[in-house]
Each structure stands twice: as C-alpha cells, then as structure tokens.
C-alpha cells in the first residue's frame, strides 16, 4: 500500500515537472523497459512466497537462452530451439529444488553456487566469448521484442499474460495454495501431508521457467545474449522489486499485485532519471533513498512481530 502511494506520488511529480513523461509514447517505453524485470520478479515471487530464494534465476536464463540461440543459429526450427532452452531452464530449477529439499542445503548458498556452476559450464562448453549473437533471418522471432498494434510493446503483453497466469496459479489452484502453505509454515505443511520436497522442486522449476520467458524476451529485444548479465546487479533488482512490492522474505505473503506495484515503482524511477539524464552517482543515491523510504513506510505500517521476523530480515 505504502509502495503504491509512493509510486502514485512519483508519477504525479514526474508528470508535472518532467515534460514528456506523461505521454503514451513514454509510458510505452517505460512499460517496455520494466517488462523483463517484471517477468523475472513473477518467477522469483513464486519461490519467495514458498520461503525460498533463487539467486540462480538470471544465470539459468542466460545459459539456457544462449543455448537456444546457438541452436537457432545452427538451423534448428525456432520453436524447437526455444523448447530445448525451456527444458534446460526447468532442469536447472528442479535440480536447485532437489538440492534444497532432498539434500537439504540452504537455498541462498545452493542457488549462488549453482549459478556459478551453470555459468561456468556454459562458458567452457558453448559460449566461450560470453556474447552470442542471433544470426540473420529470425525476423519473426524478433517481432516478440517489437511493438504490436497502437505502438504497445510486445514485451509488455508477455509480462501481462505471465502476470495473469501466475496470478491464476497462485490464487485459483491447489498448487498455489500449497505454495502459500509451504511458505507460511513449512513444518506444519509437511506434517499435514503436503509433499514439500516435490513442491520445492516445482517452485524452483517455476522460477527458472518464468525466468526463461523473461530471457527469451530479452534476446528478442537485443538479438544477442551477453552472459555477463548473470553477474550484473539484475538479480538484486529482481529481489528488490519482489520485496519492495510486499512479498515478504519470510514467505507466505504477497501476491502478483505486489510484484506489479514493485515493478512499476522501480520502472517509474529509472525512467524519470533517464529522462533527466542524471549521472550514475545521483541515480544511485536517489534509488537508495526511495527504497529506504518505501521499506521504512512498509515496516511502520506492517510492524515485524515474532512470527514474521527472522534473522537478517
């Protein structure tokens, strides 16, 4: 709620002060820019609601889309190449879930380590120079990164469709209820007969699969995959969006709406600062302050209690 108010305030301020902010064109540009972040955040939200964390999401999407590009360049039909990448991403996610639930390793370290492993293997075997370009002749695929009718960016539509799907999954299906129960109290969930181990694998598989969709949008926008994205701050931006929107790291709380609001706040902020052509240092200062205010307001409105607080939160 606080975040939504903050967001509305920012939009109002920018609309008045920044000529050219409140126009269809710019709002579409803004929407285009946050679509990928938003899609990734949807996947992350699933894991976080189930009281987990997936630091390997970006690495896994980078690796699997890079392989999809290589297959496409080698002449494999686009849908087939994308499907191979999709399965690969899911495999990485399920493997994370297996290590976390069956081997019982902590999610933070497991996914941190697996992201390094995935990236290393990809680099030594397939993408030695870190950047892989999509060859000429995939114009149909690149339309995914373009605009549809009325100038609306296609990535935005992908984001909205994904948001609707994840919303339905979380709020209308048994699996969704299970994920909330799992995050709210894993022990109680297990004792009441929920298959928590397979459930964990499904959660991480979903995070990787949804992340992969974001990755596909990414390559359709740039026609290349630069593996370095896995080592950028993107993964932290994703977590930031999720937490900012109100998907608590303690699990069991938040929904797709929270992700949308969190994404919007970051998007508006970045867009406004780019229009003002601010230098990086100022951008970082403002980003930090806005985040602190938003989180501060949130913990004032929703005080931590014994049930929800945890070490490091």
């Amino acid at each position: 709620m606080a975040v939504m108010a903050m967001c509305a305030l920012l939009i109002a301020v920018f609309s008045v002060w920044l000529p050219g902010f409140f126009s269809f064109g710019n709002l579409f540009a803004l929407a285009r820019n946050i679509s990928i972040l938003g899609i990734l955040a949807l996947g992350m939200a699933v894991v976080v609601i189930g009281r987990g964390l997936d630091l390997s999401q970006v690495a896994s999407l980078a690796a699997s889309t890079a392989i999809a590009i290589i297959l496409m360049n080698a002449g494999l039909a686009t849908p087939l190449a994308l499907a191979v990448g999709f399965l690969l991403a899911i495999a990485i996610g399920v493997m994370n879930g297996f290590l976390i639930s069956v081997v019982e390793m902590p999610p933070l370290l497991t996914t941190l380590a697996s992201s390094l492993a995935v990236l290393g293997v990809t680099r030594t075997t397939a993408v030695q120079h870190y950047v892989v370009y999509l060859a000429k002749g995939h114009d149909d695929f690149l339309k995914l990164g373009g605009n549809v009718w009325g100038g609306a960016p296609a990535p935005l539509l992908v984001f909205l469709v994904m948001a609707a799907l994840v919303h339905l999954l979380l709020s209308r299906t048994v699996l969704g209820r299970f994920i909330y129960a799992h995050g709210d109290n894993p022990e109680a969930a297990r004792l009441s007969g929920l298959p928590t181990r397979p459930l964990t694998m499904v959660e991480y598989g979903l995070s990787a699969a949804i992340g992969y969709v974001g990755g596909v949008v990414m390559i359709s926008e740039t026609a290349l995959m630069h593996l370095q994205v896995a080592e950028s701050t993107l993964i932290f931006d994703v977590i930031m969006v999720v937490v900012l929107g109100g998907v608590s790291l303690v699990g069991g709380r938040g929904n797709v709406m929270s992700v949308l609001v969190g994404t919007l706040l970051i998007g508006v902020l970045l867009n406004g600062m780019t229009i003002m052509d601010m230098d990086v240092q100022t951008q970082n200062i403002i980003k930090g302050i806005v985040l602190l205010i938003a989180i501060g307001l949130d913990s004032y409105l929703h005080p931590r209690d014994e049930e929800t607080s945890k070490q490091g939160d």
Partner: protein, 337 residues
C-alpha cells in the same frame, strides 16, 4: 661446437670464394647468427604474465596472437582471467608480482585499481605493459588506442552528418562502465568536440555497464523524448546492438544512426553490414596483439631498468563504412574458437 664449426666452415668457404665471388663472406653470416643468439639470450625462457579484465572476444584474440608468437620465441605466457571482477584481478596481479615474471601485461578496468601494484611491479624489476585501458600509473609501455582521440574522431564524424542543419543535431552517448578510463576518456573527447559546435545538443549520456539490454532501455526512453535524435555514439559494439534493436522497435531505422568505437570483433562488422550500425571506428585486435608482442620484445632486449622509460604504441583506428572495409574486423580462426 657451434663457433668452431662456423669458423672451419668459413675457412672452407674462403677457398671456395675464389671460385665463386658471389658467396657471402663468413663474417656477415656470423653477425647474423649473433643477432639471433643475442635475441634468444634476451627472450628465450622468459616469462610473461598477462592479466586481462576478462577473456572476451577482444582479449582472447590478443591472447591468441601473443601465444602464437611467444611459443615461437620460447617465451612462457601465463594468463589470469579475472572475469570482470576487480577484486579477483587485483589479487591475481599481486600474486603474479610475487611470482616475479619478466614482463607483466595488464588491461586496467579503471584508472586506479592496479595503480599501486603496477608501481610495485616495476620496483620489483618487472617490466609492465598496459593494454588499451590505461592506469593512473604510467609504466614501461602502453599499447592501445587513444580513447580520447577515438571520441574526438567519432564526434567530428557525427557533426559532419548531424550538425549545421544537416540533421537535428541531437546526440545521445552510450557509455560503458561509468568509471572505466576507456569509456570516460572517449566521452570527454567527444564532448570536447561537440561543445565546439552550437548546432549539436548532447541530449543524453548514460552508462550501460556494457549491457545491451540496458543500452536498449536507455535508447527507447531517449527516442521517446527526442524523436528526432540524429546520432548515438556508443563506446563499444555489443552494447550498441541493444540500442540498434530499440531504434528498430521505435520505427526509427535509418533516422537515428549509430556510431560505434569498435574493437574490431566480427559481430561489429556484421551489424554494420546489416545496417544496424552506421559507422564503426575500428581497430583490429590481431594487429594490436602483435604490437603487444613487439613491446614485450623491445623491453626484454632493451637492457633498461624496469620503470625507466615510457613508450607508447598507439593503435591507428580505421573507419568501417561498408562491406568493403571488412579487413578492419578480425576473423577468429576456426581452431581458436
């Protein structure tokens, strides 16, 4: 046995020389052999340590050329890939100095990170060569582009196409990492030139962290605010690919033109030929690799104390305008892939 054989050979030859005056005098042959001996003495068995920022396309090409030559001369090459992590690179360089190679080659991620270590290396008697990205500490040799001059050259070219009423005069700059000397110098060089022409307006100058997606996002926003944008100056190729897609998505293909400072990687020429880039100011990594080798050879044979000279080997860039200029992009040999 070498010398003796040569002398007796020479005696025999002088007899023969009576019969054939064209036969080379023995003394000259000796001098030539001495040159090689002197060369081998100076370089054979020496160790060269190489710490790049990471092993990307450009760096791999340098490494390939270096290895090729050094293998031939009997020089040992030790490579430490820091994979874009500055703490790892700093550690690698410190460790390399302690191993005491004869020459240390570094590519600086920014102007300060390695400054102290490079000084320490020279004090320890190691020749230091810097490649393409210079540090605040000057060392025995610098091999690479003059980034500021690249910026100036690109800016002059943009003014020619966009200034003086020929275009809107609106220019956007895509930087790399904001603190990288390479990016910073190029931007400053370009701004210096742009300021001299009142018809040019730099509407945006943002760092992309070398990321194509970020470059695409910035370009999408800038194009919204400045639909008449005439030129985008990008300090690096792969990130500009993202901007090219954003231009296409905004329906501005052919109107907003991309000018790239290219390290000559094949994809940059591909993108230019596809019309995604308008002009590349390109330098070739393979010839740069040879310049690095030459700098190392010169230092090893100089007999100078490390740290006593400051030699620069500036790379001359060339414009890539069309398919005809393909030679300014290098080709990676199949085996090296």
């Amino acid at each position: 046995m070498g010398m003796k054989a040569i002398v007796s050979c020479g005696l025999a030859a002088s007899f023969l020389a009576l019969a054939s005056p064209a036969f080379a005098p023995a003394k000259a042959a000796e001098a030539r052999e001495q040159l090689r001996e002197q060369f081998d003495k100076a370089v054979k068995g020496k160790t060269v340590a190489w710490a790049p920022v990471w092993l990307g396309v450009l760096e791999s090409e340098w490494t390939r050329v270096m290895k090729n030559h050094f293998d031939d001369y009997g020089i040992k090459l030790e490579v430490r890939d820091a994979n874009f992590k500055s703490d790892v690179q700093l550690q690698a360089v410190s460790a390399l100095i302690n191993e005491h190679p004869d020459v240390l080659i570094v590519q600086n991620p920014n102007v300060t990170l390695l400054a102290k270590e490079l000084k320490r290396a020279m004090q320890a008697g190691i020749y230091v060569v810097q490649v393409n990205m210079a540090s605040n500490t000057l060392t025995d040799a610098y091999v690479g582009v003059d980034a500021k001059d690249l910026g100036r050259k690109l800016a002059h070219n943009i003014i020619g196409d966009c200034g003086g009423g020929k275009g809107s005069g609106e220019v956007s700059i895509l930087e790399g990492e904001a603190t990288a000397a390479y990016s910073l110098d190029m931007k400053n060089g370009a701004l210096e030139v742009f300021k001299s022409d009142p018809s040019i307006k730099v509407v945006s100058s943002q760092p992309t962290s070398w990321d194509a997606n970020k470059a695409g996002e910035i370009t999408a926003t800038v194009l919204q605010q400045h639909p008449n944008l005439c030129a985008i100056l990008s300090v690096w190729g792969p990130q500009a690919a993202g901007a090219a897609q954003a231009i296409k998505a905004a329906g501005k293909a052919g109107k907003a033109k991309i000018y790239v400072a290219s390290d000559g990687q094949p994809a940059d020429c591909d993108l230019l030929e596809q019309g995604a880039f308008y002009r590349n100011l390109s330098y070739r990594a393979d010839t740069q690799g040879e310049a690095i080798v030459n700098a190392v050879l010169a230092l090893l044979q100089s007999g100078d104390k490390p740290g006593s000279k400051r030699i620069a080997y500036y790379t001359t860039p060339a414009w890539v305008n069309s398919k005809e200029d393909r030679m300014y992009c290098f080709t990676v040999p199949k085996i090296a892939k």
